[in-house]
């Protein structure tokens, strides 16, 4: 599903965030992307969704080199990926419902189909009762769950989550992690960046460890 082949990413400032990264994530697999702060986790996820582009090496999504995707087809790639960003990135001038509906609007859905899917998605994260609320009135954990609902609303093939439990207490963190496990159990390829090793220790998934921009892929499958 996702493959990195000697990927290097150098930011315009000259900083080399990724030096040499190779790994493979098969369809339906779930894995954790670990590494200390600044190791390049966010950068790696951005390369998959084409928010950034690799300086050299190959990033493949469904066997296709993402760099060969023409600019106008990039939106189609992004619609296959549900991204949960480090901060929830919600729109404060819209209701929870409207925030979650955005990916559907963007890909041309309308009316009843949108309502149905948004409600189903909010139900998944346990926030169906808050659909009319403004996101700024929600707690940090609830906001993060809204952003998860938004990521899954268009039924993506892949979920990428960037430290989704970053600033949540252990209890909430576990709940969120359970959500991802649940999504993965129905076949969604899932890659979660985190530095909370305690949280993920009991979970039977591969760890892809980034170390100062390098990936020594440990093929320890469960």
């Amino acid at each position: 599903m996702i493959q990195f082949d000697h990927v290097r990413k150098k930011y315009p400032g000259g900083h080399e965030a990724l030096k040499d990264v190779s790994f493979y994530l098969s369809k339906g697999e779930m894995a954790f992307l670990t590494g200390h702060s600044g190791a390049g986790k966010t950068t790696l996820l951005k390369l998959i969704a084409l928010i950034e582009t690799a300086s050299s090496g190959h990033v493949l999504f469904e066997q296709q080199n993402v760099l060969h995707i023409p600019l106008r087809k990039v939106p189609l790639l992004r619609r296959k990926i549900g991204v949960i960003f480090q901060n929830p990135m919600l729109l404060g001038d819209r209701s929870v419902f409207q925030n979650v509906a955005l990916p559907l609007l963007v890909s041309g859905y309308s009316g009843p189909e949108i309502s149905r899917r948004v409600r189903a998605s909010l139900d998944q994260v346990g926030l169906l009762s808050r659909e009319k609320a403004n996101p700024v009135t929600l707690s940090g954990g609830e906001q993060q769950r809204v952003s998860i609902a938004r990521a899954i609303v268009s039924k993506p093939k892949v979920i990428l989550a960037d430290e989704p439990t970053g600033n949540l207490d252990p209890h909430l963190s576990r709940e969120i992690m359970d959500l991802f496990v649940r999504f993965n159990s129905v076949g969604v390829t899932t890659l979660i960046a985190t530095h909370d090793l305690e949280l993920i220790k009991p979970l039977p998934f591969r760890h892809l460890e980034l170390n100062a921009g390098c990936m020594n892929e440990t093929q320890t499958t469960s």
């Binding site: 992004r78 619609r79 990135m89 955005l102 963007v106 009316g111 139900d123 268009s154 039924k155 999504f183």
Partner: protein
């Protein structure tokens, strides 16, 4: 709802969509309807800023529109002036009054002449004294220096410079006539001025078109900056540039559209203001003269022009913004 909700790929986006909206066209129209509503919302959110932009566009479009009206009316003037062209015949000085009156009557019989009138040297002197200051000086002359004059009005059927020149030549050959004069120069001057105004209008139109595009562009640029988060998030969840651009383009078109309406109001207002002044002038010439305001076609053109300029300005602004955003 169970976890397998998310794996329910039974209704893939495309399958679901075609079933729901029936056709490609219906979907297209819906997308545009949503973008248009969205664009209008953003336009309204601009409040005072939107009003000011609309007025700036309105003023900018009024200038060329008003010039267009002036040109159209001035052109309408030209044939009237030609048709009312008068020829002044200066008669030899020592001819008797009776001979001159007879001559005037004879000239009036010609088919190209509609009217003649005779001004005797005494009448001419009186008029001269009334109208000018040097009139007093003439009092001290023992002899009236002014010649008798016959004013010949050319019939309106004989328009045009060529006709006038021919009649002029014929009249000047008549015995007793010393000089025959028709002031054609001012007609040429008028046409020259009209032409100049046309050129100026064209130039001004080009400048103002650029100005309107820049005004709309700037407004939409500021607007898109204030929607930065929404644009970014939309693009990250798979929005095309077109999807992001569309509402802004509609906003821009609303600016142009309302600007066009404002300019119609301004132009109609200024034309009717001028109407009263022109009425006096028109009386001096032919009663058929009417000030032509903005026609229906002109009005529609103004609105379409405004809307198209709004489209252009916003398109440039949002496209540049999206390019800078580089997402």
């Amino acid at each position: 709802m169970s976890a397998d909700y998310i794996s329910n790929r039974g209704s893939k986006p495309h399958a679901g969509k075609t079933k729901r909206h029936g056709s490609w066209l219906a979907k297209y129209l819906l997308v545009h309807k949503l973008a248009m509503n969205n664009g209008f919302e953003r336009f309204l959110k601009g409040r005072l800023g939107s009003v000011m932009t609309v007025f700036v566009i309105g003023f900018a479009l009024t200038l060329p529109a008003a010039l267009q009206v002036v040109v159209k009316n001035a052109e309408q003037f030209a044939p009237i002036m030609e048709s009312s062209t008068q020829i002044t015949l200066f008669i030899e000085k020592d001819v008797s009054l009776q001979d001159v009156t007879t001559l005037a009557k004879e000239i009036k019989l010609r088919e190209e002449v509609s009217e003649t009138s005779f001004i005797s040297p005494d009448e001419a002197l009186k008029e001269f004294q009334r109208d000018t200051e040097i009139g007093d000086a003439l009092n001290h002359l023992s002899d009236n220096p002014l010649p008798p004059v016959i004013l010949v009005t050319v019939d309106s059927q004989f328009l045009g410079k060529d006709n006038i020149n021919r009649i002029l030549q014929e009249l000047s050959m008549l015995p007793l006539v010393k000089i025959a004069q028709a002031d054609l120069h001012w007609l040429e001057r008028l046409l020259g001025i009209i032409n100049l105004i046309k050129q100026a209008a064209l130039l001004m139109t080009i400048f103002l078109i650029i100005a309107v595009i820049m005004v709309v562009g700037n407004t939409i640029r500021l607007m898109s900056q204030s929607y930065k988060d929404e644009i970014e998030i939309s693009k990250l969840v798979g929005a095309t540039d077109g999807f992001v651009r569309r509402p802004f383009i509609y906003s821009g078109m609303f600016y142009g559209f309302f600007g066009g309406i404002i300019s119609i109001i301004f132009t109609v207002f200024s034309t009717s203001y001028l109407q009263s002044h022109v009425a006096n002038l028109a009386e001096l010439y032919a009663s058929s003269f009417m000030l032509h305001g903005l026609s229906f076609i002109d009005s529609v053109t103004l609105i379409i022009t405004g809307t198209l300029l709004g489209f252009g300005g916003s398109w440039i602004a949002v496209s540049r913004y999206l390019h800078e955003l580089n997402l």
